[in-house]
Each structure stands twice: as C-alpha cells, then as structure tokens.
Symmetry: C2
Subunit: 418 residues, 2 copies
C-alpha cells in the first residue's frame, strides 16, 4: 500500500471514528481516560524499555543532553502522564451545551450547540508525553486525533499509542479515534496536511521551522505560535521592588519557555535608578544583559544590543534591555517587535494600566505580574494543548473548550421563508 | 514600484490602520458608517456612471444576463447598500467587553476581552455591493480591511472605495482602514495571501474554484464554504403537509443560493404516499426531480439520479430524491454527501428530533423548518459577511462577533510564578 493511500485511509478512519466520539457521553469518555491512565501504570516496564531504545539511539546520534532529557520517560514523567488523564476525567465536559438561544419573530427557536471540532492532527517533536497529553485532551473534547511525533521518539510513541488504544477498547471506544503515524518517512506529514476533507484542525508543536513548514503546506486550518518575544514595560510610576521581582521571575524562573521575558523596556525617568538595581538582581540570577545605547551608558560594561536582539527569542538567560521615552514609545516597540504572545506593564498608574490593557495586541496582556502566567493551568483553563498567537478561534492558551466549536441548531413548527 | 512591493506596503498600511481602528469608540465607528451611507447617496450619479462602464464591458464580453444583473447598481441596490450601513451603525459594538472573568488562587484577576481580529482580506467576485457591505461590517468590528473584487467590477469598486474612504476621512478615521486592490493583475491575489505578518484573516466569496485557489495558496487563516449540498430528511412520522411546504420552499423559493435544498431523503414507509404528493407540488414550482431507483418506480418517468447527483450543488430548479430505510440511513447519506452546511429533518418524533440535532454535523441543523433559514439575518446575527463550513472560529453565518476574537487580560499585584 502506498504512503498516500495509507494516510488517506487513516484520515478516513479518523473521520468515521469522530462520528462516534462526538456522541459519547461524558461518562464514557472519562472511563476511557481512566482506563488509559491505568494502562500506562501497568505497562510501565514495557514503556520504559521501548523508551530506552529511543534515548540510546539519541545518545548514539549525538543529541544534546537537554534533548535526551526531554525524550526520557522517567518514573515521574510516566506518573505525570497518568495523573494528567485522571485530572482531565474530572473536568467538565462542554459538549452538547447550548448558548445564545433566542426565539425569532417567526417562532423559530435557535441556539448554538457546543460540539467537538471533529478530527485533529497534532504534529510535534521529541517529547513523547505529548502523545498522551494531546490524545487525552482531544478525546475529552469528543474529537478523534491523528498524532505524528518525531522520529527520535518513534519506539516510545508506538507503545504509548498501543496502550492508549487498548484503554479505549476497554471502554468500548473505537481505536481509530487515536491513531499514531509511525512511519519515519517525512512525506507523511505533507500528506496529512492535505487531508482537508477528513481533518478539521492541525496543531503543530515544536520549533519555528517545523511550524512554518506546516503553515506553508497545510490546506487545513492551523493553530500555532511561531515564537514568544515577550516584553515587560517598567513605567516611571512602577513600584521598583515589584518590577525587579517580576523581571527576574519572568526571565530566569524558566528561561526556555515561550512565555519567558525576552526584552525589558524601562521608562527614561527611572532608568538611572532602576537599571543598576535590576541589573544586579538579574546578574545574581545568572542573566546576561544586552542593552540599548542608554542602557550601556547607565550600566557600563554591558554588551550593546543590535537589531537582532530586539527580534530575538533567546530562550536562555539573556535579556535585551531598552530605555524608552514613555509608554507610547514602549507600545510602539511592542507593536514592531512583539510576537502577540505575552506583554506586561508594571505601573502604579490607573490610566496607563487601562490603556496598556486595551491597546496592546497580545494573547495575554498583564498588569503588575510575571509574563510566565500565560499558561492554561495558571489562567484556569484546566489543561492546555498549546498557546495560539493566531487570532482566529483561539488567542492564548488552548484548553478543552478551544478543541470544540459551536453549530447552530433550530427548532421549528413548519416555518418557511417568504 | 513592483506589484510585490505595492501589496506589501498596502498590507503594512492596513496593519498600522488596524492599531487605530481597534481603539475607536463605538460612536466614532458609527459616525464613519453614517458618513459613508450619506456619501453613497450623494455620489449616486457618479457611482452609476462608473458602474455602467462595468456593465457595458460585461455585455460586450458576452457575460450572462444573470451575471450582468448581479453587477448592476440599480437605485434599489444603492439604497440597500446605504441602508445596510445605517443598520450596522445601530447594532451593538462587542469590542472591549469582558467575559469568563475569574480570580485565581494567587489573587491574579483574569478575563477574556473581546477585540477586533485586526486586518481582514476579502476576495470576491462580481457583486460590487460586497465592497460596501464587507467594509461596513469589518469597520463596525474595529478591523481594517483589504478588498479585492472581480476585474469585471473594477470601475464600480474604485468609486465605491473612494466614497468609503471619503466618509472615513470625514469621521476622522485613517483611509488605510479600507483599501481596494484595483490592479487587474491576478498575481495580486496570490501576493495578498502571503502577507501573513500583516493580515489576520482571509474571507473568499465566490465560486468553488476561487475558494479552492485561495485555500491552496494562503498561509493566512481562511474562513469559507466551498458549497452547500443541503438535505431535508422526511421521516415516516412527519406531518406530510408540512414536509411538502418545507421541501418546496427550501428548493424553489431561491434556488441559486447555498442554503437551498439539493437532496430530499424520504423514509421508505411513507414514500409511496408522500412522493407523488411532493412531486406534484414541486412540479408546480417548476422543479425537475432526479430520483433513486425506488423513486423512479414510485414516480414513473422520473430521470434516474447518478452518483454525481448526490454530490451536486445544483443551484437550480433540480432536486435529487432518495428513498432511505430509516433515519440512520438518512444520516449516513448526509455524512457521506453533505457539505456541513445545512441539514433538516421533518418529523413528529421526539427522540429522532433530538438525535438528528445532536448527531448531524452541519453549520445549521434544523427541525421542521426550511433549510433557507441558515442566514445571519434569519438567525438573529444582525448582518452577515458569509457562511463558514470550516469548524474553526466560526461554523455557520458570520456576523460582527465572528469578525472579533478575545485576548486574555490579567491584573496582578506583583504575582510571580514559583
């Protein structure tokens, strides 16, 4: 069977399975999630043996220790996957609920009914726990899912898929509701991206290169973010201690993630006092500063920032720092270099806090708190499948609700149009 | 200036204008809509003179009378455009409203704030009133818009764009918030579809060929429907008089639109009684039937339907008719041949009405009423910019709300993550 036929069949089977999963009760879906969680714990030895094949191969191939770390299913990672599914089972099921109901002048009763999206394709790199997390979230929302992980995690993903499918079968669900594409052939991804008749949404998770490839080749809608170039603007009316605490947390608490701070913008008036203080705290946290001209004058010995620094997503203990004239100057910088991900202001001023919230275009705009709060768990979504900086359908963290949509429903008594 | 540079500049100007329109008050936007409406009436003679150039050229080029009809800006069409803008000015402005507010355990207060999508590109064919309708809707929702109409309406679109921009300037709005691409070069469309950094959404309106071209070439999210293959299932427990009335209305009241009925599915048990009656009523309305084998036996002289008929969007006074075993058989047919547009059931049975509503996947699922109600106005959205059969962001008619999205906003008091 050609790869083309394989992928087309797989997509058709997913579409057929989605007709079934769309109509499952919350109880049936939760039973499947619990069965998969139990299966993961039961198959722990086998899963870790298969996972070792991947990490051994990665070591041989000379992958970085960080990459190998992300790949490895430790006891803690495995328990985390199972616990995540149990947590999902406890969340509310939004499918089938009605909203925006109205009775039209002709007596027609209408509403919007929340329904699953249908079939979701997830294309991701390295971390095999995405296989379980993504499958669980999609299933909870009533969707079928097609998973395509990285070739470096192929043994892990295969056995995880088997455990997931066995759990689903135990709960009476169709196995085709969760399918893993395990051919190493990269053409498989491009073929998935053309199954517009059977797949409703593609979510790519990984580096910018992967995501740009997916967007360029997909005829299916894509939810994604390319990168997080997040700013914090420290206003002249900011509480400086708070600003220092937030800057250090946003930059250094976990520098490798998309909601970490990349550029600090500081109001001209307070820069002479604030910059030496924040620089000291950042230095203690191991952060290197790249500064604008004024910053370099106020902080002698600072490396000068170039154009590239304003555009950089360092994902590292490096921070670009720029002195700005005022909030408008800061907002202009954000509009030019921001990635619509997370933007913070630290201020004690009422009017500026309101203007910043309204006028800055980002998936989270936050006052007097760390950029690190742009996260499904932190914002109360329960669980997230990623963060979107596209504005369509979802802008910000995507939870169960973002894996659903609404259709219109209407009840009549013989109405016709005239 | 190369076309590439022209389009890139135009997109950048739209992005800059969108930063302004996003923060206009409802009053400012409504003033602009009223100014444009007044401008249309004032420039009536000029508009119709320019429009005549297009219709004369269309006549010379041998376009069909229906096409020329769609192109012509009669007094009634012009008044309709102006009235539409006045109506829009009267609708609620959703921008800036908050929802899903919560206080997190750490004291962080969060909510979702409704915001404009940003920059919207509309790519459409022939009818020049789309220029005004689409510009008005996008503006009301706080967006900037780039319009690319068909070359056959180029003179009309140019003068309409001028009138729109003058109205906006009168109200103090940036002209770049509504821009018309008036080069006849078809490459312009492809260039627009690559301006991902500056355009947030593409809405194509026209034939399936145009829409497939847009989807295949766009890296920007697209909201669209390819076609409407709408079904009505007449259950054995249907009120037959009601079913006949609905079938005739859905098919014949306006056959050329996407929510018109294309296939009638009839329960086996009632087919011998129902088919002759509905066939007579349809015949009176000028409708030709293409029937399945059973239909052809019950209605001698009926042309037999082929595979193509089940897939057809006739947009004409032709109706495919199929006898089905039961509701499951009907739902299977709909899942196979439907276009996720509009699906109706006519039944007196409580359980079946509920199952059909829940299980059928279409942008409108309707009980005991005509498919023709899948329309923004009829469903109470106020005004619509089109119908989406993609499930992402919008499924069904798209009104002002569908031209907006939400961002997360949060207010803290120094919170950091641990």
């Amino acid at each position: 069977m050609s790869l083309d036929t394989q992928i087309t069949d797989l997509a058709k089977n997913a579409r057929a399975a989605a007709r079934i999963t769309a109509n499952l009760s919350a109880e049936q879906k939760n039973q499947a999630l619990m069965a998969i969680a139990a299966g993961l714990e039961a198959a722990k030895t086998d899963i870790q043996a298969e996972n070792k094949k991947d990490s051994d191969a990665a070591e041989k191939a000379g992958l970085s220790p960080a990459m190998i770390d992300r790949l490895t299913i430790t006891d803690k990672v495995l328990t985390g996957m199972a616990d995540g599914l149990v947590y999902l089972a406890g969340l509310n099921d939004p499918v089938g609920t009605l909203s925006d109901s109205a009775i039209r002048p002709n007596g027609l009763e209408m509403a919007r009914m929340r329904i699953p999206l249908g079939v979701i394709g997830i294309i991701y790199e390295s971390r095999p726990n995405v296989t379980v997390d993504a499958a669980g979230l999609c299933l909870k929302a009533g969707n079928a899912v097609i998973l395509r992980g990285g070739s470096e995690a192929i043994h892990s993903n295969r056995i995880l898929a088997r455990v997931i499918q066995e759990g689903m079968a135990d709960a009476g669900l169709p196995k085709a509701a969760v399918q893993v594409i395990d051919t190493p052939d990269r053409e498989a991804v491009n073929l998935v991206l053309k199954q517009e008749a059977c797949i409703d949404l593609i979510i790519p998770r990984g580096g910018e290169g992967l995501i740009r490839h997916v967007v360029a080749h997909s005829t299916i809608p894509v939810l994604k973010h390319y990168k997080g170039v997040c700013h914090a603007y420290v206003d002249d009316l900011a509480d400086m201690d708070m600003a220092i605490k937030i800057a250090v947390n946003a930059k250094a608490q976990r520098p490798g993630v998309c909601n970490a701070l990349e550029t600090l913008l500081v109001h001209d008036t307070i820069a002479p006092v604030f910059l030496p203080r924040v620089a000291e705290a950042l230095k203690e946290a191991g952060v290197t500063i790249k500064g604008c001209q004024k910053t370099c004058i106020l902080l002698p010995g600072t490396a000068p920032a170039t154009q590239e620094d304003w555009e950089a997503e360092y994902l590292d203990l490096v921070l670009a720092v720029k002195v700005v004239k005022d909030m408008d100057d800061a907002m202009d910088h954000i509009a030019t270099y921001g990635s619509n991900h997370t933007e913070a202001i630290i201020t004690g001023d009422y009017d500026r806090s309101r203007r910043f919230i309204r006028e800055v275009d980002a998936s989270l705009v936050i006052v007097n708190a760390s950029t690190r709060f742009n996260d499904g768990g932190e914002l109360g979504l329960g669980a997230e499948i990623g963060i979107s900086t596209s504005k369509l359908h979802a802008y910000g963290p995507m939870g169960i609700k973002e894996l659903t949509t609404t259709k219109f429903v209407a009840w009549g008594s013989g109405q016709v149009r005239s």
